[in-house]
Amino acid sequence: MPEPIIKVENLVKKYGQLVAVDNISFNVNQGEIFGFLGPNGAGKTTTINILCTLARPTAGKATLNGFDVVHQQNQVRHSIGLVFQDSSLDDRLTGLHNLRFHAMVYNVPAPARNERIEQVLNMVDLWDKRNKFVRTYSGGMKRRLELARGLLHYPKVLFLDEPTLGLDPQTRNHIWEYVLELRKREGTTVFLTTHYMDEAEKASRIAIIDQGKLVAMDTPAKLKRMVGQDIITVRTDDNTKAAEEIKSRYQTAVRKDGDQLSFNVDNGEEFLPVFIKESGIKIASISLRRPTLEDVFLKLTGREIREEEVGDSIKEHLRQRGGGRMPH
């Protein structure tokens, strides 16, 4: 087992009275996609900022690629690539300029520079647009350019902070193709925050943070199992009789839910055909629902992951994009 690429020990960050990160510890293994979820204000961004050397921890220790995030900032910065939810491009310059600057400050050797720029631009399908000013790019193109830039210096760890927020499904799929391909080819570790549950599903492991504390950390499958069993919902001709029958036959609590009945079972996919065959109940409709990461999140944090947050951050996003800001 190789050394973990990120090691976080008893990390604390306080802003005055406010404890943003409250003594958290975790490891991220080399080559994994590590999902970092939590409601807004839970401490996600603060933790990422500490790992990226943008903020200093109040207490505790974190290393990345073997380097201390406080005392070996430059080595840490060389080891990471970043794609933030808010653009960090220079939109008064062209896509090519943005990448050139990045290659220069990250010390990509001059002979390799142009070749690598071409490679990453081709990967995100922006080679043809390289001489256009970034302010003329669409939101999706900007994000793709940021991804290309984040990958330019072959980082060990790629931080993706809401990388696809506000993008259309097609662009989201594209971006994920690039990320997954890169991970396969280069063994890049991906540190991901997202509000999209289908993206979180791609993670090898997920940590959930709430009010500055780590409340769970496991594989998506195990997290879902933690929430509970599969849920079967049926509608029958005679719900009262059916409820009796299910109760006595399977020793499980049955909930009445309008004109439907629902109950929990282990391993619902195998249970379903047996249930339909052997119970004498006349079934009008039946459905099986497995717990989702959404349920996990709801149970652990008491909040829906999407709702207010995505709503708010998209609004925030649009405001920042559109809001009539005249730069000069």
Binding site: L54, H78, I80, D86, Y106, N107, R325, P327
Partner: protein, 262 residues
């Protein structure tokens, strides 16, 4: 080594942005020209000769050079704040180069751009009948650069502390206009009311403007445009030393402050 590349990259970006921003270039040229010709032509008659054999427009001209350098370099502070607002600052702050080299690169970039803006005003010399020898122009370059670097790092110092664009612009205007108006751009510094004379003398920009004026209009010992500090007539070199001392402190403070921000 890497930090040198960092300084260079940050500097180069400023130059490139200026090059692509034709509107900014045009306004950098037009704004001082408006001042020079509208103020100048309007007041020329009523003011009459300024002494030392120059008329009002000729008197104002070196001041206007100083003004365009000042304004140009202040703008770089604004661009630090814009970078924060538009997110690019984050890319700079997580780059593997020291904050100090970022601040230094910005200061040099600001100074270069402002010096170019000053040079653009130099082109007007023949129009207002001021003769500039090649040597004077060559001496003006480092002088403008010094003035610009001092004011540019003041802007960067403020920008690293003041996070909101609105607040920054408000403070810049409160600072920039008094600094320009009370630096001897538009009137000679002698025979001013006491309070005004005091402000002019503690305004570091005055010494930059005085040095430029001394170079452009010549500085005989009895020149009516000299700054008197404690009864001592400041020579060009002394003005430069005051400017350089101020600039040195500002650059150090800007690098320190920029390095500490989170």
């Amino acid at each position: 080594m890497n930090n040198l590349i960092g300084v260079y990259t940050i500097w180069y970006r400023d130059i490139l942005r200026f090059w692509y921003d034709k509107a900014r270039m045009l306004s950098a040229l037009l704004f001082p020209v408006f001042f020079l010709f509208i103020f100048g032509s309007g007041l020329q008659r009523s003011i009459g000769p300024m002494g030392g054999g120059v008329d009002f427009i000729q008197f104002m001209y070196p001041g206007i050079i100083g003004m365009s350098v000042l304004m140009g370099s202040f703008m770089s502070g604004v661009s630090v704040v814009w970078d924060r607002e538009f997110g690019f600052l984050k890319e700079v702050l997580v780059a593997p180069i020291s904050r100090i080299s970022v601040a230094l690169g910005r200061t040099l970039g600001a100074a270069t751009v402002a010096t170019i803006q000053g040079i653009m005003i130099l082109v007007l010399a023949p129009v207002i009948k001021v003769s500039l020898s090649i040597w004077i122009v060559l001496a003006l370059l480092p002088l403008m650069f010094l003035l610009a670097a001092s004011m540019g790092s003041l802007g960067i110092l403020l920008a690293s502390r003041i996070k909101s664009t609105e607040a920054f612009q408000a403070i810049m205007q409160m600072l920039m206009f008094p600094m320009i108006f009370l630096s001897g751009v538009f009137f000679p510094m002698q025979d001013l009311p006491g309070w005004m004379s005091f402000i002019v003398k503690i305004n570091p920009a005055s010494y930059g403007v005085a040095a430029i004026r001394g170079l452009v209009l010549g500085s005989p010992p009895d020149s009516p445009f000299t700054i008197y500090l404690f009864g001592h007539a400041m020579t060009i070199w002394e003005n430069v030393i005051v400017m350089a001392a101020f600039g040195f402190i500002m650059v150090i403070l800007a690098m320190w402050s920029f390095g500490r921000q989170e």
